[in-house]
């Protein structure tokens, strides 16, 4: 299917712009000539299992994965193009209120829950990777392949046996998901104060949530994103 899809995309789609390029592959925005619909096309080598899983699910807070075609280690992923502004862009002009922040953070938690339940970790949560589409926050750019090293046997096993269970259940260590919780805490603080919590911690309840998200001591840290959602 890889060759067929690549061929069809060449014929019926046009490049809008190259979003990212690395030795591992590229990410570009393309447009369907007939309908004008825009998509994100990822071409990379590595592991596409998380994208395969996302193919069968839909979540308002993650871009839809429309198609995954593989040829050995080479993969094509056709993804929903999310229209909207990034939090990074919006934060240039103004901070968010506590309610807005809470709503957005809960939506990011929902997106993270899905990734975490697939043994995937986002690892790059930042204002530039959250797009506001109307009132929906969408977490983009989950470079899932980064965390699944195909040469690593246990990772392969994890991916082969996972459903939509809690990550701890199939061995994705808490420390991995904690990375995302930590960055989420930072993001919440930046949305409220414009600063890293070490410089200026948000006040009140949200400040306490940030503090607990970013605490290094494992015992006091939120165990998973569901706990963060509850706290929010």
């Amino acid at each position: 299917m890889y060759g067929w899809l690549l061929d069809t995309l060449h014929k019926e789609y046009e490049l809008v712009r190259l979003l990212k390029e690395s030795p591992r592959g590229s990410v570009s925005q393309i447009r369907h000539r007939a309908t004008g619909r825009r998509f994100v096309l990822r071409q990379f080598t590595g592991n596409a299992e998380v994208y395969q899983k996302l193919l069968r699910c839909s979540c308002r807070h993650l871009p839809a994965v429309f198609e995954v075609a593989s040829c050995g280690e080479k993969h094509l992923v056709l993804e929903e193009f999310i229209e909207g502004d990034t939090l990074g862009f919006l934060l240039q002009d103004a901070l968010f209120t506590e309610k807005e922040t809470r709503d957005i953070a809960i939506q990011i938690c929902k997106a993270l829950w899905i990734l975490h339940s697939m043994a995937a970790v986002h690892r790059d949560i930042k204002p530039e990777n959250v797009i506001l589409r109307g009132s929906d926050a969408v977490l983009i750019d989950f470079d899932a392949a980064r965390l699944h090293k195909p040469e690593h046997e246990t990772d392969t096993q994890i991916l082969g046996t996972t459903g939509f269970a809690a990550p701890e259940q199939y061995g994705l260590s808490q420390s991995d998901t904690r990375t995302d919780i930590y960055s989420l805490g930072i993001l919440i603080n930046v949305m409220l104060t414009g600063e890293h919590p070490s410089k200026k911690l948000a006040e009140g309840h949200m400040g306490r949530v940030v503090e607990r998200c970013t605490r290094v001591t494992p015992r006091k840290h939120y165990k998973n994103v569901l706990r963060v959602m509850e706290a929010l």
Binding site: W4, D7, L9, H10, T35, C57, F66, E67, L78, L226
Partner: protein, 430 residues
């Protein structure tokens, strides 16, 4: 591009042929697969469940929780049970706390055995390590802020006349990764004592770490000419080679040599021995060949007492790859009289009360062993040598102590090519 894809499926929207496994029709740009909406478990439901559970627990246990809370907030004693290690958890995290050696900070050393000579005075360091249990990262600094006091004490030793005591635990540059280090002192006796470190926390918790120090006396084995044949260099070489079979590795072996001239050289390559030249009556013990000190089993200093090393203008009198200390010896007529060489932590030469006369080079440092051992050389005489002391290789931090030395008639007294710091304030140059 030629396309051999088997297109057996038709797009339900535009009718275009698609591969069977397609999830998306690129022709009409629409999804053609079934998707399941994934939602996290409801927060409200989880919250309600947890609250109900909480109420249930409160009802069930009632005052039990109160008393449990009361008990859990009472100061606790954490005893290592003789393992030298305690895992301690407080509200900030879990810590591994142990007593051990500098180079193995994760291995507790609950039992230490030291070898010692009778009535020798010894000091060695014991380190207290504190790590974050999960990461192994050093947590000494953070942890000590929560500590009210640390004391370390030995019980009365089995032999009360031989002391065993901890020095005050404190930070020491010797072991920067250790939270605290105690320089522990003991006297050379067959002895044993149990030590206890008591760490009292600000919150009242007490952590007890134990350590047993056993002191084994080093046996000293003296061998005289009457005990074993040692009149010729061959006999002596045989004795030096085989003595290891008869003594323990930690034992000290003293060979008391007769007043003979050994024609030829000796190689000390099996285990350390001390050579004592004859001091009874008039005759002395002499070697006309090189003595090489490089024992495989190295357990301290190789002492050379009252020996004459007599060269014929060529060769090296004594070459030392391991710690060697010449005392009361004479070195005459060598290309190089006394040389230390080699690399690594141990090794080096000391020489005191020696006379170096008529050698091309009397003492040659050719080593990177920068320990203090290479800095001890008081009360020697350097007479009519081409060069008195030639220093190559790496300098030691300590001044080379030449107090009481006399330099006379040498071509060059000291050829200091390494920039070795010298203490010549008490030396005489004539």
């Amino acid at each position: 591009m030629e396309n051999k894809q088997n297109l057996t499926y038709l797009c339900p929207y535009c009718g275009a042929p698609l591969p069977e496994e397609a999830s998306f029709c690129p022709h009409c740009a629409r999804s053609v697969n079934q998707r399941q909406e994934i939602l996290p478990p409801s927060i409200r439901w989880r919250k309600a469940l947890r609250r109900a559970l909480m109420i249930f627990v409160v009802l069930l246990l009632g005052g039990g929780i109160g008393s449990a809370w009361y008990l859990s907030n009472q100061p606790k004693v954490y005893d290592d049970g003789g393992t030298g290690e305690v895992i301690y958890t407080d509200e900030d995290g879990t810590y591994q706390i142990l007593l051990g050696w500098r180079d193995t900070p994760y291995e507790p050393a609950p039992v230490i055995t030291q070898t010692a000579e009778q009535d020798g005075k010894y000091t060695f360091p014991v380190c207290l390590f504190i790590h974050h249990k999960d990461t192994g990262a050093n947590a000494g600094g953070i942890f000590l802020r929560k500590v009210a006091s640390v004391t370390a004490e030995f019980d009365t030793p089995d032999d009360p006349l031989g002391y065993i005591r901890y020095g005050e635990p404190a930070y020491a540059d010797y072991a920067p990764d250790a939270a605290l280090t105690s320089f522990t002192q003991f006297l050379g006796r067959e002895n044993s004592a149990r030590g206890t470190w008591t760490i009292t926390m600000e919150n009242g918790d007490v952590i007890l770490l134990h350590q047993t120090l056993n002191v084994d006396l080093i046996e000293t084995v003296d061998i005289y000419p009457a005990d074993a044949p040692m009149d010729t260099i061959e006999d002596l070489q045989t004795l030096v080679n085989s003595i290891g079979d008869q003594v323990g590795n930690n034992d000290v072996v003293n060979l008391h040599l007769p007043a003979v001239t050994y024609e030829g050289g000796l190689s000390i390559t099996e285990r350390s021995v001390n050579l004592y030249g004859n001091t009874e009556g008039e005759g002395r013990t002499a070697f006309t060949g090189s003595v090489q000190v490089n024992p495989k089993i190295e357990n301290g200093v190789n002492y050379l007492y009252d020996l004459d090393f007599v060269g014929d203008g060529d060769g090296v009198g004594v070459t030392a790859a391991q710690r060697t200390w010449a005392i009361g010896c004479t070195f005459t007529g060598w290309r190089t009289a006394l040389m230390c060489h080699g690399t690594g932590a141990d090794g080096g030469i000391c020489y005191t009360d020696c006379r170096f006369e008529g050698n091309e080079v009397a003492v040659h440092y050719n080593t990177n062993r920068t320990n203090f051992f290479n800095s001890v050389s008081p009360d020697n005489q350097f007479l009519c040598n081409g060069t008195g002391i030639l220093i190559e290789g790496e300098a030691t931090e300590d001044d080379l102590d030449l107090s009481g030395c006399r330099f006379e008639g040498n071509g060059t007294d000291i050829d200091n090519r390494s920039g070795q710091p010298l203490d010549i304030s008490q030396a005489v140059f004539q």
